[in-house]
Amino acid sequence: MVEPILRLDGLRKRFGGLAVTDGVSLEVAPGEIHAVIGPNGAGKTTLIHQVSGTLRPDAGRVVFAGQDVTALPLARRARLGLARSFQITAVLPGFTALENAALAVQARSGSSFRFLRAAATEAALNREARAALDQVGLGPRAGMPAGALSHGERRQLELAIALAMRPRLLLLDEPLAGAGPEETERLVGLLRGLRGRYAILLVEHDMGAVFALADRISVLVYGRVIATGAPAAIRADPAVRAAYLGEEEAA
C-alpha cells in the first residue's frame, strides 16, 4: 500500500472528565477523499482542531507527509501543505477575492518580510491567485471585496484559498454548511472535480454529499471510530446503522 499522506495514531483529548477524542486512528491516502461522519457531539470538530494544529492532543501522534507534526502549530502545518477550510466562513472581508487567494500564494512564495514593493502589483502572485479563483468558478468576482460576496461564493472562496496554498492535504470542515440546494449542488460538483488530484479529509453533515464523494468513510461516535470502509460497506454496517444512520432515518 502507498504511504498515507496523513496518519492519525491513537489521538486522545479529554476536556475535564469527558474523553472527546478517545483513541482515534485513521489514514488518508494520496488522492483519496476520506470522509469523517458522526452524530452531533461525536467529537468531529475537536478532531479537526487536532489535525489542523489549533488543539494539542493529550496523547497520540499526527503524522503528515511522513513527518510527526503533533507539536507544530497551525501556521507551521499550513506551510507544510496542510490546508484547512473553516466551517464558519473565515475569508478576509476587507480583502478582494483575488487578494484573499494571493495571500495564500504569498505564504509559499518566498519571504514576506518585504517592505518596498506593493504586493498587489506582483504579477506572479496575482496569476496563481487568479488560477485558484478560476478553478472554483470565482474568476469574474476577483475584484470584489470578499465581504460583498454571497454566502455560497464565500464558501467557494474558502476553497480557492485552500487550493492557492497548493496543498498536499485539504482538510475541509463542513464545506457545505449553510449552503442552499443550488449552492450545494455547485460545491459538490467542485469537490468532485478535485477528486483524485488532492487528498481530502472531509467532515460533512450532508449525507448525500458524503456518500456521493467519499472513497472511504470513518464513522465517529463518542470520540471513537466505530467503522471505516467504502461507502457501501458503511451503509450496510449494523453498528453504524444503530448509532447513526438509523437516527437519520427516524428523523
Binding site: 489542523s52 489549533t54 502549530p73 497551525l74 501556521a75 507551521r76 499550513a78 506551510r79 490546508a83 484547512r84 473553516f86 473565515a90 475569508v91 478576509l92 472581508p93 476587507g94 480583502f95 487578494e99 494571493a102 495571500l103 495564500a104 504569498q106 505564504a107 509559499r108 519571504s111 514576506s112 518580510f113 518585504r114 517592505f115 518596498l116 514593493r117 506593493a118 504586493a119 498587489a120 506582483e122 484559498i161 496554498m165
Partner: protein, 310 residues
C-alpha cells in the same frame, strides 16, 4: 485612475497648505511654533497609526517611544554631541529598540492585556526619566541649542525647521503607506482582520506585528528628536501616559482606515486646542463634548468625511 487621484487629493491639499502656510500669513513666530508642534505630533500619531490601524493593536504606551527619542537628544547633548547626523539615528534606534524589547513581551498577550502592558512599560519609562537627576529629573533639561546638521546651525532657522518637519511628516506618511501595501503589510492587514485565517495559510502574526511595532517605535523616536529640538527643552511629561492617550485620540479622530487619518487627527487636535484656548479659559469644556460628538458621528474619522464628500 481617477479613484487613485481622488484618494490623493486630500493629502496633496493638506501637505500643500502646510508648505504654503508661512506665506499665507502664518509666518509669525507663534504660528510657526504651533505648526511645527502639530506636524511633529503628526509624525508621532502616524507611528501609533501603524500599530493601531495597521497591525490592529491598541497601545497606550506610544509616548514612551517619543520620549526616548527626545531623551536621546538630552543624553547626547549632555555628552557634548549635538550633531543631528549622529543624534537622529541614535534617537530612532533607541526608541525602536525599546519598542522591540517591550513589544516582544507585550505581544504575548492581546486586547486589554496588551493595552495594560504597553501602559505599564510607558509608566516605567516615565518614572525612569523622572529619576534621572543628571538630566534634571522632574524639572526637565534645557538644551543649549538645536542640533547642528553637518556642523551647520540651520535648524535654528524657523523656516528651515518648518520644512524639515514637513518633509519628515510627508516621508513618514509615505513610509507607512508603502509598508501597508507591501507583502509585509498584507500579512499585517490579514492578521488584523482575522488572525486565524492568516495562520491557516501559514503566517504566524507575531513576528510581523513585532517588526511593525519596532518600526513604529523608530518613527516615534524621530518625532521625539524633532520635539526636543522644537522646544529646546525635554521633561518627563514627554513620556506621560496622557500624551499616549492624546496620540490615540488623534489616530481615532482622524480615522483608522488610512495613515493620512493620523496626520489629519494630529493637525485638527493641536489647532483646535489652540483656537479654543484663545476663545475661552474654559476651553476644555467645549473641547471634550466636541470630541465625543466627533467619535459618535464620524465613524470613519475625519479621513472618511473627506472621502464621502470628495
Amino acid at each position: 485612475m481617477t479613484g487613485a487621484l481622488r484618494a490623493a487629493a486630500l493629502p496633496l491639499l493638506v501637505f500643500g497648505l502646510l508648505a504654503a502656510a508661512p506665506f499665507l500669513g502664518l509666518g509669525a513666530g507663534w504660528a510657526m511654533t504651533l505648526l511645527a508642534r502639530a506636524m511633529i505630533l503628526g509624525i508621532a500619531a502616524l507611528s501609533l497609526w501603524l500599530v493601531v490601524g495597521g497591525a490592529g493593536l491598541v497601545s497606550l504606551g506610544q509616548a514612551a517611544m517619543l520620549g526616548i527619542g527626545a531623551y536621546a537628544v538630552v543624553v547626547l547633548d549632555a555628552a557634548g554631541v549635538t550633531e543631528a547626523l549622529v543624534v537622529t539615528p541614535v534617537a530612532i534606534g533607541a526608541a525602536a529598540l525599546f519598542a522591540l524589547a517591550t513589544g516582544a513581551v507585550a505581544m504575548r498577550t492581546g486586547g486589554v492585556s496588551f493595552i495594560m502592558i504597553t501602559l505599564a512599560f510607558g509608566q516605567m519609562a516615565f518614572f525612569t526619566a523622572s529619576s534621572l537627576a543628571i538630566y534634571g529629573g522632574d524639572d526637565g533639561y534645557t538644551l543649549y541649542g538645536r542640533s547642528t546638521v553637518a556642523g551647520a546651525r540651520w535648524m535654528q532657522d524657523r523656516l528651515a525647521f518648518h520644512y524639515l518637519c514637513l518633509g519628515l511628516l510627508l516621508g513618514s506618511f509615505l513610509l507607512c503607506r508603502m509598508l501597508l501595501a507591501s507583502r509585509f503589510g498584507r500579512v499585517l492587514r490579514a492578521a488584523r482582520e482575522n488572525a486565524l485565517r492568516a495562520q491557516a495559510v501559514g503566517f504566524e502574526p507575531y513576528p510581523y506585528r513585532l517588526v511593525a511595532y519596532a518600526i513604529a517605535g523608530g518613527i516615534a523616536g524621530l518625532a521625539g528628536f524633532l520635539l526636543a529640538n522644537a522646544t529646546e527643552f525635554v521633561a518627563p511629561s514627554f513620556l506621560a501616559w496622557q500624551r499616549s492617550g492624546d496620540l490615540l485620540f488623534m489616530v481615532i479622530l482622524g480615522g483608522l482606515g488610512s495613515p493620512f487619518g493620523a496626520v489629519l487627527g494630529a493637525l485638527a487636535i493641536v489647532l483646535l486646542e489652540e483656537w479654543l484656548g484663545h476663545l475661552t479659559q474654559h476651553w476644555r469644556l467645549i473641547f471634550g463634548p466636541l470630541l465625543v460628538l466627533a467619535v459618535l458621528f464620524l465613524r470613519g474619522g475625519l479621513v472618511g468625511l473627506g472621502r464621502r464628500h470628495g
